[in-house]
Symmetry: C2
Amino acid sequence: MLKKYCQEKMQKIDQTLDGLLAGTNLYPPEIFEAMRYSLFAGGKRLRPILLMAAADAVGGNGEDYIKVAAGLEMIHTYSLIHDDLPGMDNDDYRRGKLTNHKVYGEGMAILAGDGLLTSAFEVMLSEENVSPKVLVQVVRDIARAAGALGMIAGQTVDLASEGKVIDINTLKFMHQTKTGALFRAALESGARLAGGGPEKVEALITYAEEFGLAFQITDDILDVTGTQEKIGKPIGSDERNHKATYVSLYSLGEARSMAQTAVDNALAALDGFGREAEVLREMVKQLMTREK
Amino acid sequence: MLKKYCQEKMQKIDQTLDGLLAGTNLYPPEIFEAMRYSLFAGGKRLRPILLMAAADAVGGNGEDYIKVAAGLEMIHTYSLIHDDLPGMDNDDYRRGKLTNHKVYGEGMAILAGDGLLTSAFEVMLSEENVSPKVLVQVVRDIARAAGALGMIAGQTVDLASEGKVIDINTLKFMHQTKTGALFRAALESGARLAGGGPEKVEALITYAEEFGLAFQITDDILDVTGTQEKIGKPIGSDERNHKATYVSLYSLGEARSMAQTAVDNALAALDGFGREAEVLREMVKQLMTREK
């Protein structure tokens, strides 16, 4: 069931993204080519799917908010392009493909990221299946989550921590902001767009926080136990880069157990929901068996 | 009169920007310091002043839309930080001060730009003195103007043209997008926020286009005739960087005459306005005598 749901939603998201960045009137073509390259580089579309699943979970129809969902994926993609730049992590590969700046050069990669981030707001603010009042609130919250108090705070701490020993609290702050803030925005936005009441919204925020934690811990585990073929980059890169992770601060067994606790907490947060939240339940459970 | 108006508005804008990026709860402090550095590096606040003057010109009160105006300045500032990066123009100085990456390093400068761009949308969408419906439209148009079909298109052409001979049409496209699009968005937004009718909005768009052209030509002229002390960077840098400008494609006399024509056209666009557009008239006229 989850697989079919995700495939259907991915197709809708890809169609939407494709439609936004296609056409013969797009000039200059280089910038659109560079934006498309990373946008269609094999992302799992996790954030937009979570947004739509949250809307479904409060009784709405997630696909009604496809433009806000697509905007989230554009924001996520921009952050990866800039994160890979020589001045940041200086990575050559992502998901088994050359990073944006390795293909298009550093200047174009900076602009492709800027273009995706800026256009994400244009796209989100084009959503017509919701009142302007709710749209303003939702997009403002997404901007906050992606901004200097959210995702960018995490990237700043990440950059400042390179090669340094950091403690568990710093690691937690980094993850809550760098990846957690956008997961939280995805769930909260989906719930608010579909008119979910305060209790449901709060429950989904708790789910998002636990989901984000489980995602990050299993990501750290994969960097040690995964295969390059599946995760698309050399394994053991965190250790070589002296990055603090759940696996460097804890044993593999402890990390697995912490991930399981987060999954259980996420499931518990959904106690007040019925069948309509089944996709969200399956999504967090599968983190424990992810291979990429 | 113009000087007093600009001083008053600058003070309001600076207060607003300062309030947004101050406070002891802002963590990590490095990112906010880097954002503030460029935001308070001596900008003339031209875009937010134009937005407020346009609102005044259609009978509104520009200061009612200070958050949208401040957002425009944040977008402008982010574009300068990224433009100066080693992967782009690789500039060491801007307005007589070290560029962001020379002070904070390349990674932080990328993040400071990203932070300003993202937070600009949060700030603009916090504006409460206008209906959500108009706010959605205005902020969406600003995103479009700053995006891959606007400002970023111009930066892409600029990057791709480095060291090449470009013709006047390419130069015009580059300026209309790189600097023109945001000027246009400033005037159009101000008019729409204050409820200006279609005719007034159209007239102010024409004014904006001619203002942008006059601004760019006089900018090119200053690069030849200005003093380093006043413009804050070495003069003749365009020629050394083999940049096509109005002064490299035309004589200084021809360039001055083209600037004057643009100023005259901008003034003509304001024919249907009375005293309430006097600030806009003075703003475009003073471009002919600008020293920085």
